[in-house]
């Protein structure tokens, strides 16, 4: 039971931390909870569908279909997160000061929230499909009785979601003015980390060269499977043995999003 709980916990935590950051980042937008719910629900349904046809996906393109799929899902999430940060660079200040044009912000806020719903759906889809595949296997393999699998799954899910909720509670204690700067930095690093991960999938599929591998090795100082290492892996894309290609993807995405945020920033805020 504990084995099942730990695996479900690990997969849940990744999605839960991402959801907590984007939930905090969209805090003052109307109908936010509904959009977060839509993203979550579509992610759960999508992950069951993906888990169901994983054999097909896996066998596409000579056994690398799943890597391509993961890289595409991550790439799409990176685009949405980047777009969110650019949008926040333009509207964050007015949102924080509440001096907003309500009519426009309702319309623009909806587009922003639908991008966030897509991000959540993609994150849940990726982690959820692996969890579902694992639980299906446990159930059909008869290694554990059904009640043990279910209680393990629920325990892991609750622990992961609980940590995510804890992070959200911590974030929303930050005053609005600062909160959006904090979430923008977190989302920038999340997106860069996802870009690095998508590069890793393309390298293991032999689509991209890894180049210098590993570029560095910090597995003695901070192993990726230690609590701190895996937390940093999820949040800022820390890797103990990254290849040069991963680092290039990471840095490029971080710089492109930063440039977009600078470009979008309203002039009067710069002058202030």
């Amino acid at each position: 039971m504990l084995g099942a709980a730990i695996i479900v916990f690990r997969e849940t935590l990744e999605a839960a931390l991402l959801i907590s950051v984007v939930a905090a980042a969209t805090r003052s937008l109307d109908h936010r909870t509904r959009w977060l719910g839509i993203g979550l629900a579509s992610g759960v349904i999508g992950s069951l569908v993906v888990a169901g046809c994983m054999d097909t996906i896996a066998n596409v393109a000579d056994g690398i279909g799943q890597d391509l799929f993961n890289a595409l899902v991550l790439g799409a999430a990176v685009c949405m997160l980047g777009w969110h940060n650019v949008w926040m660079a333009r509207h964050g200040a007015e949102m924080a000061s509440n001096a907003r044009d309500v009519a426009r912000s309702v319309h623009e806020g909806r587009r922003e929230l639908s991008a966030i719903a897509v991000v959540i759906a993609l994150a849940v889809l990726r982690e959820g499909s692996e969890t579902a595949l694992f639980l299906f296997g446990m159930a059909s393999g008869g290694e554990l009785a059904m009640p043990a699998i279910l209680s393990g799954g629920v325990l892991g899910l609750a622990a992961g979601a609980g940590l995510g909720y804890g992070m959200y509670r911590g974030l929303v204690r930050i005053p609005l003015r600062r909160l959006f700067s904090v979430t923008s930095v977190l989302i920038l690093l999340l997106a860069a980390g996802m870009a690095g991960q998508s590069a890793r999938f393309l390298i293991q599929a032999d689509v991209l060269p890894g180049m210098v591998t590993p570029l560095w090795d910090t597995s003695n100082i901070l192993p990726i499977n230690s609590p701190v290492g895996s937390f940093l892996h999820i949040l800022i894309g820390y890797d103990a043995r990254p290849s040069a290609t991963q680092v290039i993807f990471y840095a490029t995405v971080a710089l492109v999003i930063l440039a977009g945020m600078r470009w979008a920033r309203p002039r009067r805020v710069l002058a202030a």
Binding site: G3, I7, M54, D55, A58, N59, A61, D62, G63, I64, Q66, D67, L68, L72, E130, L133, F134, F136, G137, M138, S140, G141, R200, L202, I203, Q204, A205, D206, V207, P209, T213, P214, S219, P223, I224, N225, D239, A240, R241, P242, S243
Partner: protein, 108 residues
């Protein structure tokens, strides 16, 4: 549209323009164990690990040493490119059955 078409072309062409591995090595998963559990590969070369999961249930091939992870559904195969590796030992395991599914790659 143009972007979508470009992406589709990139995905379709990618395997063709890939950087082919020097060696293929097959690792079988049976009863939640890897066979062979010790895999010898040449150092300094790219190696394609073909993981043949003969169990009915899925397994996640994972290695912190190699910085790789990949889910292999039941009764199917998946490939994972590693290397070029420096001579040494690289542990791997099956995340879904960590107690039994363990192995090591020896690059020499």
């Amino acid at each position: 549209m143009r972007i979508a078409r470009f992406l589709a072309a990139a995905v379709l062409l990618a395997p063709v323009t890939g950087f082919a591995a020097d060696t293929d090595v097959t690792i079988v998963i049976r009863d939640h164990k890897f066979e062979p559990a010790e895999v010898k590969v040449p150092a300094g070369k790219k190696v394609k690990l073909v993981i043949d999961n003969q169990d009915a249930t899925a397994e996640e091939f994972e290695s912190h040493d190699l910085n790789r992870e990949k889910v292999i559904p039941g009764k199917s195969r998946g490939s994972v490119l590693v290397g070029p590796l420096k001579p040494g030992k690289y542990a791997f395991f099956g995340e879904f059955h960590e107690a039994t599914a363990k192995g090591v790659i020896v690059a020499e």
